[in-house]
Amino acid sequence: MTRFSRTACMLTPALLASVACAQGVDTPPPAHGPVQLDLISMLFVFMLSTFIGIGLIRRVSRLLHTPLMSLTNAISAIAVVGAIIVAGGEHYPVWVRAMGAVALFASMTNIISGFMITDRMLKMFNAPTGGGK
């Protein structure tokens, strides 16, 4: 449980930072608005989530490094968000949307194969069974 509470302690600042950032959404900044301020908040999110990531990954058992890599692979396919925005943006010219569509195909492939193979591998990690003598 201490492990969990430590994680929770590390989580809190990042969540607070994200909430603080999300509050700015109601009033989207004008095109030439306070970019500087937003840059700072993004850097905060980046720094804090890097620390969380390092803290969490260090505690992953070496046993699971291959599935861990497949999982983070699938997670880094979060680029799918950008791909959807570009492929689905109606005001974009066709060639821009085509690039987005290829990007969407690539990241969706990663999402599907990444999560599926992680689960497939994890199913194989068996604790010793009763009859395993």
Partner: protein, 484 residues
């Protein structure tokens, strides 16, 4: 249909909808963090996958719900097309997992690079006012990291797949590092010029230059790296793919991308640090130190001789031991011997012999490779022991069976300052009472380094393919069981 949309539209004014979307992103970011948290322990790891899937579904659905995202065909078609390759790639044999991982890094890099390119070109040609210096800086980073991950990972995957047109050995030419550094310098200069004047007259050409250099970097970085360093390279490319997603987050002003990308980036970072430590090398040595690898010494002219052993005798000795430690390596994966190893494990356990597996962090071609292969053969993970934990027990070990591992058990690493692997932590196979080495032929190994372990008095060699040798051992144990 229309009325219900209008009704929804009333409740969800654009501002409300955007808040809702950001909240969904926030939830997704939290779930990603829990996903990795749960991944830490084999008992909760599968829950981690579910959290990841939930988070990703939230991200996809709520991005789709964004007001500016329309034209569903443009989204549904690529997703539908991705199902086939996705399922196929998730069902590759486990020995091919390193290639698959490299290939998916390539896909991730490509996606990031394409989104960055599309954004830059659109802003440049249509709304130059949106092309702020800050955004261009982020785009340059995204495109650099994305495309270099793309080509680098393709080369890595091809090397791991042992494709014919890619040399397995490090590919080097004189002045390689100088060429690399100069082109890196050019890319940095172009990037800085773009940031200073994002919509200048030559911006398009400079951007094209950055893209071209990024494509080149990838393969130039990976070509000189040999198979044994692949675990580190894969981990580094993993970090790059994550950082490319972070850069995309900065471009699109999206904190979910930054969080998830940073998680991935730090994972790649930690894994590559672990890999480097396990080889006693630095990052720069792995990336730029290919020269040291090629020129192996041919000193020690006198021919040392191996002492070989028949599988019958080896099986008899192993059957009477109390502790057998098996050290698996890439050779086990190549020979697909993991299922035979499982039979050996069963035979020995049946006779009351304790069997453990000693796993070196860099055994195989990616972090954790051996663990997955042995887990596939249904060996309980509690018998897969890390190097640091098994080493103190090695003097009590009656038989150490080295199965397709080489450098990770070479005692040279402890004392021979001239050896390229000097200082690398090793599994203390030489401290076991008897060592059996499984080796394909009597030739002195293709890496060129003689393994001192194989010439010790206590060592006996079993020549042959790993799978065949283990099969022989199993057969002898099985038939001999009635005799003893």
């Amino acid at each position: 249909m229309n009325t219900s949309f209008a009704f929804l539209g009333d409740i969800l004014s654009t501002a409300n909808r955007n808040t809702l979307i950001e909240l969904a992103y926030l939830l997704a970011a939290g779930l990603f963090i829990f996903s990795i948290h749960w991944m830490g322990d084999p008992k909760t790891a599968r829950r981690g996958v579910f959290a990841g899937v939930a988070a990703m579904s939230l991200a996809v659905l709520f991005t789709w719900a964004r007001p500016e995202v329309t034209g569903y065909l443009w989204i549904i078609v690529p997703i539908a097309l991705a199902v086939g390759p996705g399922v196929w790639l998730s069902n590759v044999p486990l020995t091919a997992v390193p290639q698959r991982t490299a290939l998916s890094h390539a896909f991730g890099g490509l996606a990031a690079g394409l989104v960055g390119t599309a954004k830059f070109l659109y802003w440049y040609l249509h709304t130059p006012a949106d092309l702020t210096s800050f955004r261009v800086g982020a785009i340059v980073l995204e495109v650099l990291l994305g495309y270099l991950t793309f080509t680098g990972s393709i080369i890595a995957a091809a090397k791991l797949q042992e494709v014919k047109w890619i040399p397995q050995r490090p590919w080097v030419y004189p002045g390689q590092n100088i060429v690399n550094f100069i082109s890196f310098g050019v890319a940095v200069v172009l990037g800085v010029l773009l940031v200073v004047n994002p919509t200048g007259p030559y911006a398009l050409w400079m951007f094209a230059g950055v893209v071209f250099l990024a494509f080149n970097f990838g393969w130039m970085l990976v070509m000189p790296i040999g198979g044994a360093d692949m675990p580190t390279v894969i981990a580094i490319l993993n970090a790059y793919a994550g950082l490319a997603a972070v850069a995309m987050g900065f471009v699109l002003d999206n904190k979910l991308l930054i969080t998830a990308g940073a998680l991935d980036g730090s994972s790649g970072l930690i894994l590559s640090i672990i890999m480097c430590k396990a080889m006693n090398r630095s990052f720069s040595n792995v990336l730029f130190g290919a020269f040291g690898q090629v020129q192996q010494k041919a000193v020690g002219g006198e021919q040392k001789t191996y002492k070989s052993e028949t599988p019958e005798d080896a099986a008899a000795i192993m059957g009477q031991s109390s502790l057998v430690v098996i050290v698996p390596g890439y050779g086990m994966a190549v020979a697909q011997a993991q299922h035979k190893v499982r039979e050996l494990y069963d035979q020995l356990k049946k006779r009351g012999v304790d069997v453990k597996f000693a796993i070196h962090p860099v055994a195989g071609r990616m972090p954790g490779h051996m663990n997955v292969l042995l887990a596939e053969a249904e060996i309980p993970y509690t018998d897969l022991i890390e190097m640091d934990e098994i080493n103190p027990d090695m003097p009590q070990c009656d038989v150490c069976l080295v199965l397709g591992a080489n450098d990770v058990v070479n005692p040279c690493a402890r004392y021979d300052k001239n050896s390229p692997i000097y200082g690398m932590p090793i599994i203390d196979a030489d401290r076991a009472k008897t060592v059996y080495g499984v080796k394909r032929s009597k030739n002195p190994g293709f890496a060129g380094i003689d393994n001192e372990l194989y010439f010790l008095d206590k060592t006996r060699m079993l020549f042959g393919d790993a799978k065949a040798v283990v099969g022989e051992l199993v057969k002898n144990l099985a038939t001999g069981s009635g005799m003893h």
